[in-house]
Symmetry: C2
Subunit: 354 residues, 2 copies
């Protein structure tokens, strides 16, 4: 049975990417060797890393703008610490829009003064605070562009002159933004890029290496940038698969093309959530994420029926995170609109049968 | 043409492991989903993580001895920092046996007093210092059981009552040791376990969480242990492939069985290095690594011939590290003795033709 994979991450990737990645594990490009048994210092892998980082820069529209892309390890959770190590000199500002922002704040506080400039915790993070004051003396402002758990997303970036840093793990490469507004953005690969185990960091090169503290080598973005992500052995398979996904995205027409698809999927999904009297959207309408739609079933007696029907239809990964409850449809780049239609049809059928 | 893969890491893995790993990237166990698109919180992946960590403990003979195995990220380089964060209270001792020990010392110095108890730097790390004094007031003694670059290996562990911590990246699961002598040992996966991107950490549970400093979450072994390696999204593919390799090793008869094979390969290799008048071993004979044999060609005029013959025979990855020069034959668990024989035959032929 065909599965419709709505998992929040790790998540669906393009079928052709998974096929090509599997083939490379057997043998890389008729080399007689598997991708995972070659040296990361081999010309073949250096080319893979170069291509993956170049594609990231190109897709984000950052060519010739002084940015460097790196593939590191540890996910966004590691970057919570690294960001503070590399940029927090005296005072940093954080916008708290959910679980991951909260964790980022916690780790940064170990390194210096952290000001929580805004928070939507009062409403279980169901909206994005806007128009908050941003002091001009901050070392940086940290935001989370998309909040996977709560299903909210910044539609416009905060206006500020302080350096902007973002955790964009769950919406990178999904929509157009002026990425040159960021001094640094990072994203775990396991949403729109590849398998878990690699983390993309894109940094303005002249912003690196400026902090006065001595940064441990593995946490130092300047070291990783200067070594072209090869300071230590990189996560070869995750980088290769990310390269394949970025290549797939480029061939589809890049971010502007996938953004249209993502908007169509989101419109279909939220249209049904709003139309169907059995369901309620969780996030404030204006802040709804095009990646993660969170919603609840307002008739508890239909829970078992809905979940049985969903299972029968091959829907996978639609349970909401425990912090929100209900359901979550994650609609990353590789999810076809046909899968969203299957979910919508199940919601309609539930209503008709009720 | 068949390749004989002597790469130092990432390196050869069992053929059947690479085939099974590739299959799982296409589809995991008839689930209708790829290994790399399922949630790490799914029952299927939790079972994989449990199996991988249980196999590690079992193969090391540490069942019911109070140890916990974890799969983390960042390689040994990250553990250089983590070890100091978790264990360095006032003073730590390090034995310096090469490039990686030197890097471990550098990172630990950021956290407290570090005493270099011994070093073989005076002879470009071609031997393992023995019988050095180990103060009884150390928080721990850190060693590197096998030195990939220089081809040396501790044949016996230092005798001490202070907690023993080891970087065993390049000889874990290759030979019998009393692993209960370690409070903690760690190893990047990309030698005897799996692809780059996962790091095995095996720790005595009651040694964790004792340090007085506040450890950042991602560096805190206690957090990772308590969360069963799921504090953040683990490197799913690398963990799965490591599980397959550990299963393969168990089916072969475990460490004691593979150790015999490794000894036979090493005997064949070093036998030829010692016999053949064209070659010299680099490491002191008594400290020779069974994993990485380092040697030089003592007639520079034969360099091109040797390398051409090696290439023609399908030998891959035999160039020495720049710190040593010459050649290095890495003979990890998955390398068949037939590959060593091919290299030995090339060395013999070179001699006969000379």
């Amino acid at each position: 049975m065909k599965k419709h994979n709505f998992s929040a991450g790790p998540c669906i990737l393009p079928q052709e990417v998974m096929q090509k990645a599997a083939q490379a594990v057997v043998e890389l490009d008729n080399s007689g060797l598997s991708l995972i048994e070659i040296s990361h210092r081999s010309p073949a892998f250096i080319e893979i890393m170069d291509k993956a980082t170049s594609l990231a820069i190109e897709l984000l529209g950052l060519q010739d703008k002084g940015y460097k892309a790196m593939f590191l390890q540890g996910g966004a959770s590691q970057q919570f610490l690294n960001v503070a190590h590399n940029f927090l000199e005296t005072k940093a500002g954080y916008a708290n829009t959910g679980t991951w922002s909260t964790k980022a704040i916690k780790e940064a506080k170990l390194l210096g003064e952290v000001v929580e400039l805004s928070s939507s915790k009062d409403a279980n993070f169901n909206y994005i605070p806007k128009g908050f004051d941003i002091p001009s003396d901050l070392d940086y402002l940290h935001i989370t562009t998309n909040n996977t758990i709560f299903g909210t997303q910044y539609k416009a970036l905060p206006e500020t002159n302080v350096p902007l840093i973002s955790d964009s793990s769950s919406d990178i490469f999904s929509r157009s933004l002026d990425f040159s507004k960021f001094d640094l953005l990072y994203a775990g690969a396991q949403k729109n890029m590849g398998p878990a185990g690699a983390t993309l960091v894109v940094a303005k090169e002249d912003a690196l290496g400026k902090v006065s503290r001595q940064v441990p080598s593995m946490l130092d973005y300047k070291i990783h940038a200067d070594k072209d992500s090869m300071f230590n052995t990189p996560p070869v398979f995750a980088v290769y698969t990310s390269m394949l996904t970025l290549q797939w995205l480029k061939e589809k027409g890049g971010i502007s093309a996938i953004e249209k698809e993502n908007e169509a999927k989101a419109a279909l999904m939220y249209g049904e959530i709003d139309r169907n009297p059995l369901f309620d959207g969780f996030a404030a309408a204006e802040d709804r994420s095009s990646m993660n739609a969170t919603f609840t079933l307002n008739n508890a007696s239909l829970k078992d029926s809905f979940e049985a029907m969903a299972k029968e239809a091959g829907l996978n990964g639609i349970n909401g995170h425990r912090s929100v409850g209900g359901y979550r449809a994650s609609m990353y780049n590789a999810l076809p609109i046909e899968s969203v239609q299957v979910l919508v049809d199940v919601m309609k059928t539930l209503e008709q049968n009720a």
